[in-house]
């Protein structure tokens, strides 16, 4: 039983109850319309997306909590600790606080673009969740080219950043937005090239197939170690975390393109940041670390454990590395990662031709 059937069951049951009430009241036509398969399908998809959003939200909140606690230990301090068990509800309290903040739009901002940038940001981030399965049975959509879809959606955000940075009418924001565009061209190509090796070995762009291929042979981190490293470096740039968080470089650009966003917009951007962090870690797990495969525990739990471990690496990087400069990220991307990615591709081809996978 997968997520669709599960949700369909619940929806059918609920619709059955409602139909019984409607029939009892006497609205037979409405009950018949509600019971039709199209409506059931629509309601099922709606329910599925709510479940998915809730899970994404919980994972993001947990990630923020994990980041706070882990970063706290990295820095020899405690992190959030007062609200809730071990400070877990602190993020929810912070989220509620952002809701209560004043709603400020800079006077000279381009209002339309300014308002739409966070929407695109959070929208694209939620769209990422659609394509990421938690397990072979817990997914929203099983796309044939799921991997391509994920990275296509990933690449929307620099556009939102550029838009928001331009619309804020602030010099820092503008520079932040421009940096985002510059960063995009530096990491995107090594990222995709590092992925190509995995695609070659598994022979599919479908995420389920890739995971199954790993379950059959071995985790792709073993033949594709170089690819994994390149992927991790590039995904850090992709989700804009600290060695490569140039668009919001705190020390030089205040908060970069976020500078003028306050209140719940800021909260949404923050949430989107962690959605993307979740998506990045999830893709790393799916491509290189065997996805949801693992003994004893349910596959969903295994998947989330692996995601949190990969996210721990991202936090660890943040806790021990400095920010690189904008011209240096181009150097890293083009001069170091790209040749390495080529080498990695050759390795994949050799493995494939030797017939080991």
């Amino acid at each position: 039983m997968d997520l669709y059937q599960f949700t369909e069951g619940i929806v059918s049951w609920l619709v059955g109850i409602v139909n019984w009430i409607l029939n009892w009241v006497g609205f037979h036509g409405l009950a018949g319309w509600l019971g039709s398969p199209d409506i059931i399908k629509f309601l099922t998809l709606l329910g599925e997306s709510i479940v998915l959003l809730a899970i994404g939200f919980i994972v993001a909140i947990t990630m923020i909590w994990q980041e706070r606690k882990t970063l706290g230990r990295l820095m020899d301090r405690r992190g959030a600790m007062v609200v809730g068990p071990a400070g877990y509800f602190q993020n929810i309290a912070d989220g509620l606080k952002t809701l209560l903040k004043e709603y400020i739009i800079p006077e000279k901002a381009d209002k339309t673009a300014y308002n739409w940038a966070p929407v695109i940001m959070i929208g694209s981030s939620i769209l990422l969740l659609v394509a990421i399965p938690l397990s072979g049975r817990f997914y929203m959509s099983d796309l044939n080219a799921g991997l391509l879809f994920i990275f296509a959606v990933f690449s929307i955000t620099p556009f939102a950043i550029l838009m928001g940075g331009w619309a804020s009418n602030n010099k820092y924001s503008l520079i932040g937005g421009m940096r985002s565009a510059a960063q995009l061209i530096s990491y995107e190509i090594p990222l995709l090239l590092s992925m190509v090796g995995v695609v070659l070995l598994s022979g599919s762009l479908n995420i389920g197939d890739i995971v199954n291929a790993q379950a059959e042979s071995t985790w792709f981190i073993i033949p594709q170690l170089i690819g994994f490293i390149i992927f991790m470096v590039a995904i850090v740039a992709e989700v804009e975390r600290i060695p490569f968080d140039l668009p919001e470089a705190e020390a030089e650009l205040v908060e970069g393109w976020w500078t003028e966003y306050g209140g719940m917009r800021f909260g949404l951007l923050m949430l989107a940041e962690y959605f993307r962090g979740y998506a990045g870690a999830a893709v790393a797990v799916l491509l290189f670390l065997g996805g949801w495969s693992g003994p004893f525990l349910p596959p969903e739990i295994w998947f989330l454990i692996k995601v949190f471990i990969v996210f721990f690496i991202l936090i660890w990087l943040r806790g021990s590395l400095m920010r690189v400069r904008v011209d240096q990220i181009l150097n890293i991307g083009w001069k170091r990662l790209l040749p390495l990615a080529m080498v990695n591709l050759v390795i994949a081809v050799v493995f494939k031709t030797l017939g080991w996978f």
Partner: protein, 360 residues
């Protein structure tokens, strides 16, 4: 992108205080820079003209929040020069010890801020943790954590506490181990080297002409340290070397300060070994003679100088403070021009800003 002026400050994470760096950028490249200061101007020098000599000691603590001991010590030394007072030897040794501990604490605060400027918050907490140990030491001597009010005209306020030598040595041993760890985090990181090497070049000739002093100038390879070349207190009796680095860039300044922390540990150890017994404070006259005097010290940030004119009363006629950062900031444009806007925090972090003494 067209050229534009960006105001970095007065409220900006890079500033470490309240000042404004106007930079003219073309894209990301800095074409021109102009520091704007004065946001913290308190008229300190004028305020001192209405206070009697001992009352100015706690005020001079407030000149710099990072290293208040050096400033109150400099003030006391200036007034001792003015009054012609001879300070007991034990007091001089105690002063050297607390000054060097203060130097370590100040450099640690600089290192913490430098790490934060480059995007690494972890080091901030680590450095503050170790700074806390030195603050605890200073607190056990002076009774306060930041504004010590410890040196007095003609000596120091009170003697060292009984177990101070033992605690101090233990702290220094622990600290030197931690210093290795910082070097692992900074020097071991390729990103740190990428961010600091060949950035913010200040040639030795430029630096000397622009009046830059202290670790910034020693980072340009000039072997000048006032503790060596204009010795005050008992520095000439202690065994130590000055630290320089020939690279002229941010990395060299970082290296010099790291070496200086080690050297300060050595000075403190040596001073604890050589400290004599005896009186710690001598009574000074209330009124200063009619003449002028000045004193120079090697502040953690550079050369500090105070120039005082006595007019025969118990208040100074004029007290002028030469703050090292005041001059270094005026030399900042030459370090910044031609680099990227992302290098501004690295360069400004490497000169160790302190606005309290700059604006006075």
């Amino acid at each position: 992108m067209a050229e534009m002026w960006i105001n970095m400050g007065p409220q900006h994470p890079m500033t470490h205080g309240l000042w404004n760096l106007r930079v003219k950028v073309d894209g990301e490249t800095i074409l021109d820079a102009e520091p704007v200061i004065g946001y913290l101007h308190r008229g300190w020098e004028k305020m001192t003209e209405n206070r009697v000599y001992p009352q100015i000691i706690p005020m001079s603590d407030r000149l710099c929040y990072g290293s208040s001991m050096t400033w109150s010590h400099l003030y006391c030394m200036t007034i001792e020069n003015l009054m012609g007072v001879e300070v007991p030897e034990r007091a001089e040794y105690i002063r050297v010890i607390v000054l060097e501990l203060q130097r370590i604490a100040s450099h640690l605060m600089w290192l913490a801020a430098f790490g934060t400027d480059l995007g690494l918050l972890t080091v901030f907490v680590y450095c503050m943790r170790e700074r806390e140990l030195f603050l605890d030491l200073l607190q056990s001597v002076t009774g306060a954590r930041m504004t010590y009010n410890y040196p007095r005209i003609g000596g120091v306020r009170n003697d060292l506490p009984p177990d101070f030598g033992r605690d101090c040595l233990r702290t220094l041993d622990h600290f030197e181990k931690k210093l290795d760890e910082y070097e692992e985090i900074f020097d071991g990181s390729a990103i740190f080297l990428m961010r600091t090497q060949d950035i913010g070049i200040l040639k030795a000739a430029d630096g000397m002409n622009l009046g830059v002093t202290g670790a910034t100038l020693r980072g340009s390879g000039v072997k000048i340290d006032l503790r060596k070349h204009d010795p005050y207190s008992v520095y000439h009796e202690l065994d130590w070397d000055l630290c320089t680095h020939p690279d002229c860039d941010c990395y060299a300044r970082y290296r010099v300060r790291m070496d200086e922390m080690r050297m300060s540990c050595q000075i403190v150890r040596d001073a604890l070994k050589k400290i004599p017994a005896g009186p710690i404070r001598v009574k000074v006259p209330r009124n200063a003679p009619k003449r002028t005097a000045f004193a120079r010290v090697e502040d953690p940030r550079g050369e500090g100088l105070m120039y005082v004119i006595g007019d025969g009363t118990d208040k100074p006629y004029r007290l002028k403070v030469r703050s090292p950062i005041f001059v270094t900031v005026s030399a900042v444009p030459i370090m910044l021009i031609g680099y990227k806007i992302a290098d501004v925090p690295a360069i400004m972090g490497s000169v160790d800003m302190c606005l309290g003494e700059t604006d006075r």
